[in-house]
């Protein structure tokens, strides 16, 4: 009974073992060195993925191990067992008959008879899944270690029962502990925390432990280098399996930078709000297309639009047309560069149509990922300053010009008066010369001419002196067409004599700011010049036209006369006492007067001319606003 029982229980156990072996994928093998025969159990064959009928041979068996380190290792282990009878246990990779790589645990033992190994036997287990999982775990643990290191997560573990504390490398770094230090829990939990946060922190921790809840807190520590750090902690309590003790595992990380950044951001936000409400600097938030979506009081004042009108407008709509292209270039440059803002001087057009000069700072706002979101545009109105500067420049220009013309005038006076005085001087010398008594009459005649010439020159110079003294407030509103018609009427007889044709195409609504006497004189000079320097064989045709420009009116008088050789006389056309034709009437005064009168009224004059084709004088005058 007993034996039966024993027997049956032995059978049962053998069955159970076989089952267990199957489940655990454990096979047997045996190698008899004397008969050189190798035996594999069914499971061993299964692991090698060979059929049941397969009869293994020792060389083939070794070759199932993966070529290289694996095969070399098993070869050396088997050889060592044969030579010394030493057992082995190792985990290696085999390549099955079907070509699959499988991790196996191979165990082998030697049977030694009379100091000679006669038999090797062992077990062979498929551990592929476990092995791969454990390799994966190792890999993941390594990865985690790298991750926590780079993320600067410190990991700590506190055993509540034996009060032992574990701190990882990152914790040491975070808290500034030395490598050889071994901080006690008390040192770690209390001494590092700054007094202000300590009590709260301790209380929170104890509460979390008491209620078995996760510990999630934030506090400040002071490192041995007197550095204050903001630390965020997250910890959880883990019951140790099969043990009374409890462990708290936590991670701590440094959020100092985050806190500081947040503080900075708060500050920026506050100061941004303050500057946005600034009453002197116009500000707008502008989307990437240039559309205004937020603006402040100051900007509405500068541009004269109500807030509601301004929002939705594109900046290009309120930019001076000549500055739009410049803006586009600047924005493109900003978007493609690393800079976040640019500053420029530009012009806007206010609602009333006035030009507003401004210093503009455009700042590109980007998301954390670098994606631009919108612009902040700051506008400082410098129109009054610019206008003042322009006025100053104009005045400077005028005084410069007047200075130059005065200087020039002084030379001319000196030269012209000198030539007469020289002549008179010589004549009086001759008159007193006893050897020239018989020529006295002719000398006297010459003296008279010289005196007349002197008189004439003085008269001309007087005319010049009277000029140049026009201040802008003396300019009045004058209708251009009426002026031209009146001047033409005055020289009607001359026009008839010369059989000339004057063609005027001036709009009757065109007004200029001018001095009536000057404008008359300018037209008179240009018209009579056109007649004086006509081509002998060709009827003079003179065309007069006018065009509106931005803030001036340009007037053109074009003839088909002799023309002036500009290559030769370029700088002298408008010079005093400069003449270009052999005309007895030419005094070199007319164009000089014209130029000075135009400039005295704030305008400019230019000439285009070609010999035997004609001349074209173009002068500008201020438009009446």
């Amino acid at each position: 009974m007993y034996s039966n029982e024993t027997h049956s229980s032995a059978t049962y156990e053998a069955k159970l073992l076989a089952k267990a072996q199957k489940v655990a994928k454990i096979g047997f093998w045996e190698y008899d060195l004397r008969s050189n025969s190798l035996h594999w159990s069914a499971i061993t064959k299964q692991i090698h993925e060979v059929p049941e009928s397969y009869i293994p041979k020792i060389e083939e068996a070794i070759n199932f191990y993966k070529e290289g380190a694996h095969r070399e290792k098993i070869t050396s282990l088997v050889n060592r067992a044969i030579e010394t009878g030493k057992a082995w246990e190792i985990e290696l990779v085999i390549v099955t008959e079907k070509g699959n790589e499988v991790w196996v645990r191979a165990l082998g033992e030697a049977e030694v008879v009379n100091g000679k190994t006669v038999r090797l036997f062992g077990v062979f287990q498929d551990i592929d899944e476990q092995k791969r999982n454990s390799l994966l775990n190792q890999k993941m643990a390594k990865r985690l270690a790298i991750a926590t290191k780079t993320a600067n997560f410190g990991v700590w573990e506190y055993d509540l029962k034996d009060k032992s504390l574990f701190l990882d490398e990152n914790m040491y770094r975070l808290y500034g502990f030395q490598k050889n230090e071994k901080p006690t829990p008390e040192e770690f939990f209390e001494k590092t925390i700054i007094p202000k946060d300590k009590e709260r922190m301790v209380q929170e921790f104890e509460e979390a432990l008491a209620t078995n809840q996760d510990f999630d807190s934030q506090f400040r520590i002071i490192t041995p280098f007197s550095e204050i750090k903001h630390i965020k902690t997250y910890a959880t309590t883990l019951p140790e399996f099969g043990s009374e003790s409890k462990k708290v595992i936590g991670i701590n990380w440094d959020i100092t930078e985050l806190i500081n950044t947040k503080k900075d951001l708060d500050l920026i936000e506050k100061s941004f709000k303050a500057s946005f409400d600034n009453e002197f600097v116009g500000m707008a938030l502008v989307d990437l297309e240039g559309k205004i979506f937020q603006t402040n009081e100051a900007l509405t004042k500068i541009l004269g639009y109500a807030k509601a009108e301004l929002i939705g407008l594109n900046f290009a709509d309120i930019t001076h047309p000549n500055d739009v292209a410049k803006d586009v270039v600047a924005i493109k440059k900003l978007l493609s560069s690393k800079k976040s803002s640019y500053q420029t001087e530009k012009r806007y057009i206010s609602k009333k149509g006035n030009t507003k000069h401004a210093i503009v700072t455009v700042t590109l706002v980007k998301e954390l990922d670098g994606q631009p979101t919108h612009y902040i545009t700051q506008v400082v109105d410098i129109t009054p300053r610019i206008l003042l500067m322009k006025k100053r420049e104009e005045l400077f220009d005028i005084s410069n010009k007047q200075n130059a013309s005065l200087n020039n005038f002084a030379h001319i006076v000196s030269h012209n008066l000198r030539s007469h005085s020289t002549n008179i001087n010589m004549l009086t010398e001759f008159l007193l010369d006893p050897d020239k008594k018989e020529d006295q009459t002719s000398f006297l005649t010459m003296l008279k001419t010289a005196a007349q010439n002197l008189n004439e020159t003085v008269a001309h110079l007087n005319e010049v002196v009277d000029m140049n003294l026009v201040t802008p407030d003396k300019l009045t509103k004058i209708n251009l067409r009426e002026t031209v018609e009146r001047v033409l009427g005055n020289i009607g007889a001359l026009i008839n004599d010369e059989e000339a044709t004057f063609v005027s195409s001036i709009d009757k609504e065109l007004y200029v700011k001018a001095l009536p006497a000057y404008l008359d004189s300018i037209f008179l000079n240009l018209f009579t010049n056109a007649l004086k320097y006509r081509k002998p064989e060709v009827s003079p045709i003179i065309k007069i036209s006018a065009a509106k420009k931005e803030d001036v009116i340009t007037i053109t008088v074009e003839d088909n006369g002799l023309g002036i050789d500009l290559k030769r006389h370029k700088n002298k056309v408008f010079g005093l006492f400069k003449t270009f034709h052999r005309n007895p009437d030419a005094k070199g005064l007319g164009l000089f007067m014209v130029k000075n009168q135009v400039e005295a009224m704030g305008g400019q004059i230019t000439v285009k001319s070609e010999v035997n084709i004609g001349s074209k004088f173009t002068f500008s005058l201020k438009k009446l606003k």
Partner: protein
């Protein structure tokens, strides 16, 4: 003192020309005197003299301020002519201008012998004659 064959006055001041001529006669300056009232007619005449192979004036009195082509313009054209390199024409710039700019500009022209401020004195004329003869 030997007089020169031909002198030339380029000036637009009729009175001055008459007076200079009288002064020249007083010292027997030249046998013959050419007069031009502007640079343009003067340069044209000189070109023609060259073209017809006649002899050029030995001394030229050149004014600065003249219509059409002034003294400077005349010199520009004159210095481009072949003869100015070979012929012994002596040019005196005679003007009532005492402007510094004019005095400085004289340096640009090699063909100007001297800059004289009007009026030319008898002594200056004599000196010029001596130098030319």
């Amino acid at each position: 003192m030997k007089s020169i064959q031909q002198a030339c006055i380029i000036d637009d001041d009729e009175i001055y020309i008459e007076l200079l001529k009288i002064k020249m006669r007083d010292i027997n300056f030249c046998e013959e005197c050419l007069v031009y009232n502007d640079g343009q007619s003067a340069i044209e005449a000189i070109k023609e003299i060259c073209d017809t192979n006649r002899s050029l004036p030995e001394v030229i009195f050149l004014d600065i301020n003249m219509p059409i082509l002034d003294g400077w313009g005349f010199l520009d054209h004159y210095e481009k002519l072949e003869i100015c390199k070979t012929d012994k024409v002596v040019i005196y710039m005679v003007t009532s201008s005492m402007a510094k700019a004019d005095l400085e500009r004289v340096q640009e022209f090699k063909s100007i012998k001297k800059y004289i401020v009007k009026p030319i004195t008898k002594e200056q004329l004599t000196e010029i004659l001596l130098a030319a003869a």
